[in-house]
């Protein structure tokens, strides 16, 4: 039994239980949550190097042989997602030691962040459909609780939308899993890959539609994204960054896994719909962002528009497009988390999230201005940052397959993205500080706090630059991962054993 596949789930689970027992002692809580995330990152790196060296790995839990028992499996795509989850997890845990320090339930935040990581890693590693549903639930319940800790009335109202819309998606997923099990008698991804080939096209169309609906709510696709802008901006910055980086991406991961392995997407009859949806998601997201005036709201809408870009890859279903999606996913998780962290830092500095109350950061804190420019320009897709290469891949794929209007939409959305990034730049960094010294009573920032805020921000910015400058190895990796998804023979062999 290969422990590396299970440890990304066990480590945060143990960490969470440990943290809960120690929740009264704040100093230890911080140390334990950092250590847990550090171990997680180590395991993520080891898993990644194992998968790169020896191809897809699988482990049957409780020695029940596949396809009957629950199997955990990792190919390049899964391993990359686990690694990036732990990079973000460690960054957020460090950042939250400053950001959430004064919240009454600081320790509970740390416990639930670890539980959220349990669910996210479980969803990335499982090769069993019902098990995927269970990890989704673990993740959702942890996120529900994170949303409601110390909640004021605004956050409760945001939470109602978040919880109820996600419940509808969960029920649809459960129904779809039940029906698919009824049709095939299997829940294992690899075995389903063989079994679904024999189903009638009509049945595949309906089942794929149910799965697509459910995952679309989770990954915030047009027109099912209403829960996201209603709730994310009410969260504390570090939690918002965690949600923004990981939650919708788990939905996208599930879409990509489901529609390459279980139902190869071309045969489902939903391709035209998803291509249109990806264009509309990009466009409506960015237009929503353009109409907002607080940093977190602008960034929340940008999640939606970026998800549209990622979905282009699976909708077009070529090797280049899926490689582009994977690269985009990795780039987007880092950049989006970083922007939320910077937004949180500004929020802390000015005691408000509204752009009109900010100003003068370029003068007072030029280092932060540089750190903001890197993810902001990367988000919009300026060369040579990471966003450029991932956008280049998906746009090139849409031109190659003859979807010119999709490429045009993607380019226009980039321009609109830079418009709202410039809005933040002009208001928070460029214009003079409007602060009224009598009215603003923000606690001054200690240098230890500033360090905790800036270390993750600077690290993520550095990673953005590295992916941008050394794009070739990263793109080659994404290409390999895409090939494993499109020709899943190795994955299937790893899961089902010798065949």
């Amino acid at each position: 039994m290969n422990w590396l596949l299970v440890l990304p789930v066990i480590i945060p689970l143990g960490g969470a239980l440990f943290l809960y027992m120690l929740r009264k002692r704040t100093a230890i809580v911080t140390a334990v949550s950092w250590t847990t995330a550090g171990f997680g990152l180590t395991v993520g790196v080891m898993l990644m190097s194992l998968v790169i060296k020896q191809g897809p790995q699988a482990v049957s839990l409780g020695s029940w042989p596949a396809p009957y028992g629950i199997v955990f499996a990792a190919d390049l795509f899964s391993a990359a997602m686990v690694l990036i989850t732990w990079i973000i997890g460690l960054g957020i845990v460090i950042y939250s030691a400053a950001d959430l320090k004064l919240k009454p339930s600081f320790a509970n935040y740390q416990v639930l962040i670890q539980f959220l990581l349990v669910g996210v890693n479980g969803a990335f590693l499982t090769a069993d459909l019902f098990n995927l549903y269970v990890w989704f639930e673990v993740m959702l319940i942890a996120s529900f609780s994170l949303m409601m800790l110390d909640a004021g009335s605004i956050r409760i109202h945001g939470g109602v939308k978040y919880v109820f819309l996600n419940l509808i998606s969960t029920l649809t997923l459960l129904l779809a899993i039940g029906l698919l099990y009824g049709a095939t008698g299997m829940l294992n991804f690899a075995e389903l890959h063989h079994k679904t080939a024999n189903l009638s096209p009509g049945l595949i169309h309906i089942l794929a539609g149910l799965f697509l609906f459910s995952f679309s709510v989770k990954s915030a696709l047009f027109p099912l994204y209403a829960w996201l802008p209603a709730s994310y901006h009410t969260l504390p910055s570090s939690v918002a960054a965690l949600f923004a980086a990981l939650l919708t991406k788990v939905g996208i991961y599930a879409v990509i896994r489901m529609f390459t392995l279980v139902f190869p997407f071309e045969g489902t009859g939903w391709q035209t719909v998803l291509i249109a949806v990806s264009g509309l998601t990009m466009l409506t997201g960015v237009l929503g962002a353009a109409s907002q005036f607080t940093i977190k709201r602008i960034l929340s809408f940008h999640i939606i528009s970026q998800v549209g870009y990622i979905i282009i890859g699976i909708a077009l279903y070529t090797r280049l497009a899926i490689a582009g999606s994977i690269l985009y996913l990795i780039h987007h998780i880092i950049v989006k988390a970083n922007l939320f962290l910077i937004g949180g830092f500004l929020n802390r500095k000015f005691g408000s999230d509204q752009l009109s109350k900010m100003g003068g950061v370029y003068r007072s804190f030029p280092f932060l201005a540089v750190l903001f420019m890197i993810p902001a320009f990367s988000l919009a897709g300026f060369p040579p940052l990471s966003g450029f290469w991932s956008k280049f891949a998906v746009i090139r794929a849409s031109i190659e397959t003859g979807h010119y209007w999709l490429a045009a939409t993607a380019l226009i959305v980039s321009v609109l993205t830079i418009y709202s990034m410039l809005k933040i730049w002009n208001e928070a960094f460029w214009k003079p500080d409007p602060a009224d010294p009598v009215l603003t009573q923000v606690r001054p920032l200690s240098s230890r706090e500033a360090c905790l805020y800036l270390i993750p921000i600077a690290t993520f910015a550095l990673m953005t630059i590295i992916i941008g400058l050394a794009a070739e190895p990263f793109f080659r990796f994404a290409d390999q991962a895409a090939m494993q998804l499109l020709e899943p023979a190795d994955y299937i062999q790893a899961v089902l054993g010798e065949k």
Partner: protein
């Protein structure tokens, strides 16, 4: 039998959707309960129904000798019921809290997080 259960599933989900379209937050929750029961019933029906056959394989055979209901789908439902129950409790408390904010159970009034701020 399975067609009757399919019909009941349909009725439960239809009634649940109808309730979810209401504005009262408790009705939405009741809709959630009905749909989740409907979904569980659908999974039960998918796993075949049988009156007496047990899924126990006699010694030396590869399959049970009587037609049997799939025990795995029943195990799936058990998991789903437990999860659904936990989520329902959470939602009830959330609904209660949300009603307190503006002293109304109308979800159209639960819009504090979507107001414009400048």
């Amino acid at each position: 039998m399975s067609s009757l259960l399919s019909l009941i599933t349909g009725v439960l989900i239809a009634a649940g959707v109808y309730l979810m379209l209401e504005r009262h937050i408790l009705r939405i929750l009741f809709g959630f309960v009905l749909i989740s029961n409907g979904v569980n019933l659908a999974i039960l029906t998918c796993g075949r129904l049988s009156k007496k056959g047990l899924p126990i394989v006699p010694p030396g055979a590869v399959m049970p000798d009587t037609p049997y209901a799939n025990p795995l789908s029943q195990a799936l439902i058990l998991t789903a019921i437990v999860i659904g129950f936990g989520v329902l409790i959470f939602c009830l408390v959330l609904a209660y809290k949300a009603c307190q904010v503006r002293e109304s159970a109308d979800v159209n009034l639960m819009d504090l997080s979507e107001r414009e701020e400048r």
